[in-house]
């Protein structure tokens, strides 16, 4: 029992100094994580364990049994907590080595150690770091010792025995875990090598490895060599493959969804300004603006954080198992070769042994952990999908909350949806008609006038023609016509004539027979344009000037019986006229003439007898214009 108590005492020493060291060392957090790993967790577990041990000290008879029970109780926790530390211990050692290479840093570390943990003496960091390792490996040894000092028939014996085995298992498991981690870390890293780097790696060794594998694979494909069928593994791999597919597709689809969401938020129809004071237009614009400011960005943010990011992380974890599966296959081919060789030759080289073991390690690791992986991945995926659904519901809720206010203010909010849709359809139909009429109106805005200015004094003539032939037959002369032949007319620009025939006797359609109201003759068709009759009042307004003047210029109380054109008035020739006979007299444009008679011998008002330049003769009345104002020309005017 003294031996026992000795062992127990040594059990009670816990490495609780390390955390203090943690705080004192001025090292980057990443380094501290590597060095000390999960020492906090170890300390927690150990302190509870210690507490339990101390309690057993009071119960002398049952102490051994209680200790045994305690170990069994803590077995799982000890394994979990120490395996992590042990697995990262090698990396910690590497880090300590790098520190050693920097003398100043090394001195600093040493100084702190001596200050904080005096009992460590002049030993370095590595000494302190190895303590937890030593502890856990010591447990089974200590227990073994206690067991040896216990009588086999003692009540505590079986418990103790179980505890001893348990701690041995713990150590074995920790070792296995460590080994797996080593193998895994060698092969799970997805290395981003450039082509150059990849080429540089190829040497005879790797080439021979690869060619051997390839030949093995080909032999299998050709059926020359049996393939190691491992149904269990194949099923696992297949399931893993589907899980990967699930995760990757979902990730891509969510990415597409987010892209579309961003595009949707990019367009802002609510920013239009239709210059509408209120009503549904304004309601819509403010509603959409608010939603785009709050509800949608929040939705997007939550999607990115709670759906997209986790999917990315999940997708990343696929890389490790993927690589290992690939490597396993490679190693399997090696393994099969080695097995063959073993059968043929009976022994294998050291390297080949290693290859064999690597394959076995990979295989057992995958077989053990793939099911867990698949399950965890699917659970997580399910969680993510549920979150996606919840976010959609939350978005809808937010939108509705905001929209309620706008909805209540709409003019027809009390009308059910179907009835409303009918209402809108009708309204739009009506306004569509209205729009159509607007369009027609705008198209109708008068095209340019084809009407030519009317010659003075001609409106009576036009009226006469109009009443005789109708408006459709009236044409206006577009430029002066000088008749050549006897049947051809000479007409000034602006004269209105009536169409009698649109061709001559020979059938020439470019020569039309027209009636001027006094004469009939032929004129070139190209100089005629359809005449649009101007409304009377405009005509009157237009003729106001000369009429006023005529009133002004006819002071005679007794009205002239024949015409309204006063005799002996100042008149000007507006257009040139070439006399064709001795009865006629030639005119120059702008020449003042004296009108002697406003009609010819037959009483035809189309001709006027004038005196010009001392000569008398007939000229077409339409070629004359009255002076717009009684200008002081020095001619005598009627008083």
């Amino acid at each position: 029992t003294t031996l026992q108590s000795l062992q127990i005492k040594s059990l009670c020493r816990t490495p609780s100094d390390l955390p203090w060291l943690l705080c004192s060392l001025q090292l980057p957090q990443g380094d501290l994580d590597v060095l000390f790993s999960n020492i906090d967790d170890i300390v927690k577990v150990n302190s509870r364990f210690l507490h339990g041990l101390q309690e057993t000290a009071s119960r002398e008879e049952d102490q051994v049994q209680l200790i045994g029970n305690l170990f069994l109780e803590f077995q799982e926790e000890l394994e979990q907590v120490y395996k992590v530390y042990c697995a990262s211990y090698d990396q910690a050692l590497l880090l300590v080595d790098t520190y050693r290479k920097e003398p100043e840093l090394q001195r600093e570390i040493q100084g702190i150690i001596e200050a904080v943990v005096p009992q460590a003496g002049s030993s370095g960091l590595s000494f302190l770091l190895v303590i937890p390792l030593q502890r856990i490996t010591k447990y089974p040894l200590l227990l073994q010792k206690i067991l040896e000092n216990t009588l086999p028939d003692a009540s505590a014996y079986p418990v103790l025995q179980r505890a001893t085995h348990a701690l041995q298992d713990v150590n074995a498991n920790i070792n296995e875990y460590k080994r797996r981690k080593e193998v895994a870390s060698k092969y799970t890293k997805v290395e981003q090598l450039t082509l150059r780097e990849r080429l540089a790696r190829i040497n005879t060794h790797t080439l021979s490895k690869k060619t051997t594998r390839l030949s093995q694979l080909l032999k299998q494909e050709a059926g020359l060599v049996p393939r190691t069928e491992d149904k269990e593994f194949d099923d696992l791999e297949e399931r893993f493959h589907w899980v990967s597919l699930c995760v990757k597709e979902t990730k891509n689809n969510v990415a597409a969804y987010l892209d579309n969401l961003e595009a949707f938020l990019h367009f802002r129809p609510q920013e239009c300004d239709l210059d509408v004071g209120g009503g549904p237009v304004v309601q819509y614009c403010s509603l959409t603006r608010d939603l785009q400011l709050q509800a949608f960005p929040e939705f997007k943010r939550r999607l990115e954080g709670l759906v997209w990011q986790p999917l990315c992380s999940l997708a990343k974890t696929l890389a490790g198992p993927q690589n290992l599966i690939k490597k396993r296959l490679d190693k399997l081919l090696d393994f099969e070769r080695v097995e063959e060789k073993l059968l043929e030759v009976g022994s294998v080289s050291y390297e080949e042994e290693v290859a064999r073991h690597t394959y076995q390690a990979l295989n057992s690791m995958l077989v053990a952990e793939l099911p867990q992986f698949n399950q965890l991945a699917m659970q997580w995926l399910r969680q993510i999908l549920c979150t996606f659904v919840a976010l959609q519901r939350d978005l809808a809720k937010q939108v509705l909350q905001r929209a309620e206010g706008s909805l209540a203010q709409l003019p027809h909010h009390h009308i059910p949806e179907l009835a409303f849709r009918k209402l809108v359809e009708d309204a739009l139909g009506q306004t569509s008609h209205q729009l159509h009429s607007f369009q027609k109106n705008f198209e109708k805005v008068l095209p340019p006038p084809t009407i030519q200015p009317l010659l003075p004094g001609a409106e009576r003539q036009v009226q006469a023609l109009l009443s005789r032939y109708g408006p459709g037959k009236l044409y206006q002369v577009t430029s002066n016509i000088s008749g050549a032949g006897t049947l051809d007319l000479t007409l000034p620009r602006g004269q209105v004539v009536a169409l009698l025939q649109n061709k001559d006797t020979k059938g020439n359609s470019s020569r039309w027979l027209v009636d001027t109201g006094g004469h009939r003759g032929y004129v070139p068709a190209g100089k005629l344009e359809l005449y649009r009759v101007v409304p009377r009042d405009k005509e009157l307004r237009g003729q106001a000037g000369p009429h006023e003047d005529s009133r002004h210029l006819t002071p005679e109380p007794t009205p002239v019986p024949v015409s309204s054109v006063p005799t002996m008035t100042q008149v000007v020739a507006v257009y040139p006229f070439l006399a064709r006979s001795s009865h006629e007299v030639s005119l120059q444009a702008g020449q003042p003439v004296t009108v002697l008679e406003a009609q010819d011998k037959k009483g035809n008002p189309e001709w006027s007898l004038v005196e010009v330049d001392g000569q008398r003769g007939y000229v077409p009345s339409s070629f004359l214009a009255r002076a717009p104002s009684p200008a002081p020309w020095g001619w005598s005017l009627p008083s």
């Binding site: 399931r239 969804y257 367009f267 210059d275 709409l410 027809h412 809108v424 739009l428 006038p449």
Partner: protein, 238 residues
């Protein structure tokens, strides 16, 4: 007097030019927005569709149930979305197009008025030129002729001007009658859609047994799952 008339005209036409621009822009944005909306809905459907076609569904009943429920919900939402977009197309985008189609006619009419104005100004200047000259016979004749030419052109311009000054404000004001029903319809269509969305996804959330966790809790759950996965040796340390 002419300047004042011009100012009035410019003001009225200016308002309509603005409206034309805004209407065009609105139509374009509305169309692009609804296109993106449709694309979003389609990509949501694809999520559940791809899941449904994964062989895991055959092996795992729970998974199949979840994915089926998700797929049903997504497809229903897509149908509602399509209906919403159709309604928007009919009551907003089409009417906007129709409204915009009046503007070319208006712009042509304004151009014709402008042309008439130019002719009017030109002939007016001609008349004024002759009026300032010494009143000789030829000048008088030319003056008379110029006045005769001017008259119908001025009348034409005034007719066009009056017609447009009458019609333009009426057309501008018609926008109120025109747009309000469209936008009321737009708001209602969205409310209908989001009501369905709330119901469908609310039901689905309950069905999938997912309590309403706050975001921090969800984040923690995600972290936890990631840690669990990373604890496996086959998962690479990142």
């Amino acid at each position: 007097m002419e300047c004042e008339v011009e100012r009035d005209f410019e003001r009225e036409y200016g308002k309509l030019q603005q409206l034309e621009e805004q209407t065009k822009r609105l139509q374009k944005d509305m169309k692009k927005s609804t296109d993106a909306d449709l694309a979003m809905s389609k990509s949501a459907v694809k999520i559940s569709l791809d899941l449904l076609s994964n062989p895991l569904c055959e092996q795992d009943q729970d998974f199949l149930n979840m994915v089926t429920a998700l797929d049903t919900a997504m497809k229903r939402m897509d149908a509602f979305n399509q209906e919403k977009v159709n309604q928007i197309q009919k009551t907003v985008i089409e009417p906007l197009k129709k409204f915009g189609s009046v503007f070319p006619s208006l712009n042509m009419a304004v151009k014709r008025r402008e042309q008439a104005l130019q002719d009017y100004r030109r002939l007016q200047a001609k008349v004024e030129k002759y009026e300032e000259k010494e009143k000789t016979g030829p000048v008088l004749a030319k003056l008379h002729q110029a006045r005769e030419e001017l008259r119908p052109v001025r009348d034409d311009f005034e007719a066009k001007n009056k017609q447009l000054l009458d019609e333009m404000p009426r057309f501008y004001n018609s926008r109120l009658d025109y747009f309000q029903p469209s936008f009321e319809s737009l708001i209602r269509a969205q409310v209908v859609y989001y009501s369905e969305m709330h119901k469908i996804f609310g039901d689905l959330t309950q069905q999938l047994d997912q309590p309403g966790h706050p975001d921090e809790q969800r984040e923690q759950e995600n972290e936890a799952k990631l840690s669990e996965l990373r604890a496996l040796s086959i998962v690479a340390d990142d």
